[in-house]
């Protein structure tokens, strides 16, 4: 959370920038290179799945004459085919021909477009003119096509017949007449304005173009040969008709030109002629509709794809050779060749992120959904849970070809939800109460060493290491005093770094904690702060940049371990790097150094260091969607066969919970038994509170000779909890202290019920959650039989049941 920056909410402009940054929806290279953007990927997918008719339909969506083009296309798609990075490029044209050959339903789908009264004249019946006529007729215009010779097709008739059988030409071009285009054969239109009109103006009074222009609302010239004349239009340096490169408009209003007449003969490409005809038809349509001719036309023609597709993990495959004499594929050959298509996509982040995978979103979709969620005024915000289930670990940004960081988007969105008062009350409540506990007198402590009025070095163990291993915290504190030069003043501070508030989007809580931390550290003489916890380390580095910090691991690597024992004996372990250390390479290196000195061999996980994954604790994911966290942990656990070493208390717990023998680095450093520690059950939430409180109590007693102030009344309540009830409370996030409060309130007020089984049932609502406890009296203790909770309130005569005490 950047400090002192005003809260920003995503606006439309930012949304679009983010959407564009995600390249997943970019056209694949083949489609981008194709001047008319045939969706080759979709065609090959359908054909590869045996859907021949659907494949041809996908081809026809952009390609007007598939029988012809599949036989003569120059295939600008093929050199950029990503398959060539793992084998031969796909035989795209041959597969397009197979679509035409093997589809049963071959005809173009008839569309019912309302007729328009405007008339368009097309001069030239080659591929470009026929494409323009085809497209404009499909848009409802009345099109007349003038072909100088007979039949239509232009230079197609020059292609050798064995390559392009004549019936294919006739079949494909027939569709133009069937769309209602008035095709006039043997109707040359003179391109030489001085020669008069040979055909349409018997008087020769006016040039042919003038006459055509009068009779039509727009004209497209695609006569192929420059020798046919330039119609009195402005020309370029090569003497060819000059057109606007985007719109194909000539210098004359309503007159457009395209096809091979624009270029030198050696630059001819059939697919480009088709593209010219199509793009000119778009311009003519816009011209006649009187809308912008140039808006949103960036992607037309052959372009370079912005899609990234990883191929280094793709098995190479050679092209499928056609066995038949004519070079065409049999159906099964074609299907096998189509199945070689990589179906290019990016998905780099989704491949590594169980969270994105779980919600089935790549960032482009996710940011749109998040934006909509933040913008809803009335209605359900269906993306709330998705926004709260990201671990904010930053792996997506690390693998993204364009560095898009969903974590940053999500973090900002949570702050927006909080600012809008739209953050679900239950989303982070439990974690924030855990944070409040750490800030309370139960745990918070800041002391210089006995007899010192300031500290040179300050140990800040953080909340979760203290909750998990309070004894290790005391050992580290003792070690620091030992290893530092005599006279170094070593203080200790128990508290919270503020990460839960940061993750929850609670700037208010975070900022208050940050200020308090800063003031406390200053009051201790601005010592160097030693941090074992990766999240604390990240929080301090980011938000308290003027505080000197050092990770405990770097400190130990530099100053030496507490003991020399290399207990590892060459045992192989894998390191689970904490996600908060993603960009802390020297910290990560020092962990490896320490393990080496301890006698362990490290088998690196495939995703480690900057590519490490979150354990599910980060971003409070585990609370928002435990199912995602289970998947995250399961995926991580499956990545390595050796036992894991973690250097973050929560990583250790979450991985152990997922069944992976995982040991905390500190336990190895202080000589604990590997196998016993690695399989130690995770520490429950109640125990975490208890351990923190015990740590503070013990430190005060053993180092400063002080006793903590008296307990609150409910803390005197002694409970009897069997394993089943304990497990149920843990799963329901009900703490021992919550149960103690309910019983204390019930026993004091007498407000309780008696069930059929003789047990008491009582409820109490300390703040936002009502807890119910079924219990019985067991001597001086209370046996707890069940506990549950809800957030809804019972309103009795306008007053809530169970006033806080």
């Amino acid at each position: 959370m950047p400090v002192n920056e005003p809260l920003r909410t995503m606006d439309q402009q930012e949304l679009r920038a983010l959407e564009q940054q995600c390249i997943q929806e970019c056209a694949p290279p083949c489609m981008a290179a194709c001047p008319i953007h045939v969706d080759v990927r979709a065609v090959l997918r359908e054909f590869g799945q045996g859907e021949d008719d659907a494949a041809l339909q996908a081809l026809r969506r952009t390609l007007p004459f598939p029988g012809i083009i599949s036989r003569i296309c120059e295939q600008p798609c093929r050199p950029v085919c990503k398959r060539s990075e793992a084998g031969d490029p796909i035989a795209i044209a041959a597969l397009e021909r197979a679509c035409v050959d093997y589809a049963v339903v071959k005809a173009e789908k008839a569309s019912r477009i309302p007729r328009r009264s405007q008339r368009v004249g097309v001069i030239g019946g080659g591929l470009s003119g026929m494409t323009a006529a085809h497209d404009l007729a499909r848009k409802g215009y009345t099109v007349t096509l003038y072909e100088a010779l007979q039949p239509v097709g232009g230079r197609l008739w020059n292609v050798p017949e064995e390559r392009l059988p004549r019936p294919v030409i006739m079949d494909d071009l027939r569709v133009v007449a069937s769309l209602g285009v008035d095709i006039r054969l043997n109707a040359p239109v003179c391109g030489n304005p001085d020669a008069g009109n040979l055909n349409l103006d018997p008087d020769g009074a006016r040039p042919a173009l003038d006459m055509l222009r009068d009779e039509h609302d727009a004209v497209y010239i695609a006569v192929g040969q420059v020798e046919a004349g330039t119609f009195g239009l402005a020309t370029d340096q090569g003497g060819r008709v000059a057109v606007d490169p985007v719109t194909y408009a000539t210098d004359r209003d309503g007159v457009f030109a395209g096809g091979s007449m624009l270029r030198a003969p050696e630059d001819y490409a059939a697919i480009r002629s088709i593209s010219d005809g199509r793009r000119a038809a778009i311009s003519i349509d816009r011209y006649l509709q009187q809308v912008s001719m140039t808006a949103s036309r960036d992607g037309e023609g052959s372009v370079t794809s912005c899609l990234y597709t990883r191929t280094d993990d793709v098995e190479p495959q050679a092209i499928v050779e056609a066995a038949g004499a004519d070079g065409g594929y049999s159906r099964s050959e074609a299907q096998r060749e189509a199945q070689r298509c990589l179906q290019c996509e990016c998905m780099e982040c989704v491949k590594v992120c169980e969270y994105l995978d779980h919600y089935g979103r790549y960032p482009r979709k996710a940011v749109r959904e998040i934006y909509n969620n933040l913008s809803i005024v009335k209605g359900s915000r269906y993306a709330n849970q998705m926004i709260n289930a990201c671990s904010l670990c930053g792996l997506c940004a690390e693998v993204c070809p364009t560095d898009l960081d969903m974590g940053a988007v999500i973090r900002q969105s949570r702050e927006t939800m909080v600012a809008q008062d739209r953050m679900p009350a239950s989303a982070h409540d439990f974690a924030l109460r855990d944070m409040a506990f750490s800030q309370s007198d139960h745990f918070a402590l800041a002391r210089n060493a006995p007899g010192s009025d300031a500290s040179d070095v300050l140990f800040f163990p953080g909340c979760q290491l203290s909750a998990e291993s309070p004894e290790q915290v005391e050992r580290v504190y003792a070690y620091l005093a030992e290893v530092l030069p005599p006279g170094t003043r070593v203080g200790i501070m128990l508290g919270c770094c503020g990460s839960p508030a940061d993750w929850a989007g609670r700037r208010d809580l975070f900022e208050a904690n940050r200020t308090s931390l800063r003031e406390t550290i200053a009051s201790l003489g601005d010592p160097t702060v030693i941090l074992p916890c990766s999240s604390c380390h990240q929080a301090f580095r980011t938000n308290l940049p003027d505080v000197r910090v050092e990770s405990l691991w770097e400190f130990m690597a530099a100053r030496g371990l507490p003991s020399d024992g290399a207990a590892g004996n060459g045992r192989v372990v894998s390191i689970h790097d904490a996600c908060a250390t993603r960009h802390e390479s020297s910290l990560q290196e020092s962990v490896r150094t320490l393990l080496g000195r301890l006698g362990y061999e490290v088998a690196e996980l495939p995703r480690s260091r900057n590519l490490t994954t979150c354990c599910g604790y980060g971003g409070i994911q585990w609370l928002a969607n435990p199912e995602v966290t289970s998947k995250v942990v399961a995926k991580r656990v499956a990545e390595g066969t050796s036992d894991f070493v973690a250097y973050c208390a929560m990583c250790r717990d979450f991985l152990a919970r997922g069944g992976k023998p995982t040991v905390h680095l500190l336990d190895l450093i202080f000589g604990a038994d590997f196998d016993r520690e690695a399989t130690r059950p995770a520490t429950g939430w109640s125990q975490r509170h208890e351990n923190r409180a015990r740590l503070k109590r013990h430190l005060l007693e053993s180092i400063w000779g002080e006793r903590m102030a008296g307990q609150e009344p409910h803390e005197m309540i002694s409970l009897v909890l069997d394993d089943q009830v304990r497990a149920r409370m843990e799963a329901r996030l009900i703490l021992v202290e919550d149960v103690q409060r309910v019983i204390a309130h019930a026993e004091r007020s007498g407000r309780r019920m008696v069930l059929d089984n003789g047990h008491f049932l009582a409820s109490f609502r300390p703040t936002a959650v009502t807890y119910w406890v079924e219990y019985s009296v067991d001597g001086d203790s209370f046996a707890v039989h069940n506990a549950y909770s809800h957030r809804m309130e019972i309103v009795v005569d306008g007053t809530d049941q169970g006033p806080p005490s």
């Binding site: 209605g379 359900s380 915000r381 269906y382 709330n384 679900p424 009350a425 239950s426 989303a427 007498g750 407000r751 309780r752 019920m753 008696v754 069930l755 059929d756 008491f760 049932l761 409820s763 009502t770 119910w772 069940n786 549950y788 909770s789 809800h790 957030r791 809804m792 309130e793 019972i794 309103v795 009795v796 005569d797 049941q801």
Partner: protein, 66 residues
């Protein structure tokens, strides 16, 4: 929201059986009338576990996402 077959529950303080009554429960500014067991004297209300962990959670979530 209705309660399933109501068990017998007594108010320990008033020594009276709880009786079915229309009770208001609320969350995030929305309020609902529900038939629940209530002490006729001190009016304390019984919320059974299956209601708390079932329908109530669903409604809480719906209201939180509104």
């Amino acid at each position: 929201m209705t309660t399933p077959d109501a068990p017998r529950v007594r108010c320990a303080r008033c020594d009276r059986d709880l009786e079915t009554a229309s009770v208001t429960i609320g969350y995030l500014g929305s309020a609902f009338q529900v038939d629940l067991l209530q002490c006729p004297v001190c009016r304390q209300v019984f919320i059974p576990e299956d209601l708390a962990l079932g329908k109530m959670v669903d409604v809480e979530k719906q209201l939180e996402d509104k």
